[in-house]
Assembly symmetry: C2
Homo-oligomer: 317 residues x 2
DNA sequence: CTGAAAGCGCTTACAG
DNA sequence: CTGAAAGCGCTTACAG
């Protein structure tokens, strides 16, 4: 990579002059300016950002890192939207990461980025990773994940599950099944626990639990089979809306009046008339952003834990 | 801000030792390590990223900036998803910006960020801005915007409009209206031009054009009024799916068999059975990422212009 | 209008 | 295991 020194040598001027040209060209003669610009182009010079920042002394970092799971679900985008709006309002920017394949390497890279703060969306951290964050004195926060020793903003998934159960119990349903994500996770175990406990409290136990990958088509197949095998089923609680959509389709094809309840309340759910548990996705992002900002700006030692309540949205499914 | 020097002074060691502690603590006695760590905590030290980068000599930038309009539409998220997947595959990261209020300041900031490349989504650039990019020798690319003098990846909106017209003509419709976005833009003028020209070629002219803000409710109101006032209307072409959803609702409430065609093919459109023109949003992002990467890596002087074809998706609206 | 020099905050051989 | 020193690539008064 060519440096300012190379430009200075090629154009026969001092490095100070090169710098002046590169910074708008004030106090430089037209002739010198041209010479320097020619050299810049010839050597395909690109300024070194780190050196500039250091020399200028403007160290204030305004970038917040966001680490997401590989699979970018529409639901995450709602969160990101909330983050984005709260952050840009304060002139912070969002840097998106994906720990993907080589988690370890990528993680080190993220920590070393010198970010003002890091947000982990639905990403649990190992003890080793936490230590690395500590060593670099990074401020960080979990979103959509609960850890009682860390800062976090999350949905009360257990309460959400209970809400779904109460709704079904209110409709006097007793033959109820659960359709979930084949990949286990904190969100699912909480939702299911809340759902099951609430049913049990009222003397109802689940007919069965089935698991698939989160995919409308897969869920359609599974739901269809389930409805055929269990014609007396009165209600199905789905781990998320996307799975519930498959249920909606199966019910339409097969007929029958099984009640379907989802979880998330994605945009399409309103149009489809799906009864569901609304997660405050946007708000989770928004509050998460506010929270990391206060962590950065006020530097309080106490941990913040914000638990947001989900909400039952009754439509006609 | 405390520097490594302050830590060294407070803990009574040399700066080299402080640095060693901060970089994993190899070759440091336990005692020294503790002293230094205490000082780090006491002074609330945070490493200066610019200085680190400069000293380490690892300048390779792997961050791509993405500049979006203020309003983050679901459609943009599809694009971002495409970008994200193509970029993370090559270990690049995404930095999101919003030129918002103080465009000029923010723009300067973006240019000075030292990004590997910058992607402008649906954001036209002024001559002055282009010059500033040039001066900093930034690689950049338009997405979802056409400019014949720049690198860009965009949808053939004109062809999309024509596709919608052909579909309606094929159904022998002749009393046709257009409902658009009240904010003018290149996308809209292209779509409408393609639509109108194709109709005209077949001797059909638009009954009327109406404009609202892009909002389902607003479109519902407008569509309802339109359908009431023009009961003989046979088709409505909407600027985008979100507007078309309002039309779908109005038609449902009012009854009547007016044909509705949208543009975008958002996720919900499949579930709602909306006939629409599918924009290759994901692919635009994906190709945009590939394109900026090749710009960065091969440094070709020629401009790349990639025009992606939209596609008619016939459902039952 | 221009050049030489100091300095930004760190890392990293090097010598001990 | 530790300290002193050079150097990363730039900017910015300063003197001319």
């Amino acid at each position: 990579m060519a440096t300012i020194k190379d430009i200075a040598a090629l154009s026969g001027v001092g490095i100070g002059t090169v710098s002046r040209v590169l910074n708008g060209g004030v106090n430089v003669s037209r002739k010198t300016l041209k010479k320097v610009m020619d050299a810049v182009r010839e050597l395909n010079y690109q300024p070194n950002h780190a050196a500039r920042t250091l020399a200028r002394g403007n160290y204030s970092r305004t970038t917040i890192g966001v680490v997401l799971p590989v699979i970018a679900h529409p639901f995450y985008f709602e969160i990101i939207k909330g983050l984005y709006e709260a952050l840009t309002e304060e002139n912070y920017n969002l840097l998106l990461f994906n720990t993907g394949n080589e988690r370890r390497t990528v993680f080190e890279h993220i920590v070393q980025e010198g970010l003002a703060g890091i947000l982990f969306i639905a990403e649990p951290l190992s003890a080793e990773e936490k230590q690395s964050l500590e060593l670099n004195r990074s401020r960080y926060l979990y979103i959509d994940y609960f850890d009682e020793t860390e800062n976090c903003v999350y949905t009360d998934n257990r309460a959400g599950g209970a809400l779904a159960a109460q709704y079904m119990l209110g409709k006097k349903l007793s033959r109820i099944a659960y359709v979930g994500d084949i990949t286990p996770g904190q969100q699912q175990s909480e939702r299911l626990a809340g759902f099951r406990d609430e049913l049990l409290k009222n003397g109802v136990s689940l007919v069965c639990e089935k698991y698939v990958n989160v995919d409308e088509e897969k869920s359609y197949q599974l739901s269809r089979k389930l409805m055929e095998e269990q014609p007396s089923l009165e209600g199905i609680f789905y781990f998320c809306d996307e799975l519930a959509y498959g249920g909606l389709r199966a019910r339409k094809v097969l007929g029958g009046g099984v009640n379907i309840v989802g979880f998330d309340d994605l945009l399409a759910s309103g149009y489809l008339g799906l009864t569901t548990i609304r997660q405050p996705a946007y708000r989770m992002g928004f509050e998460g952003a506010k929270s990391i900002l206060s962590l950065i700006q006020t530097d309080v030692p106490e941990k913040n834990r914000l638990c947001l309540p989900p909400e039952l949205v009754i439509r006609n499914s």
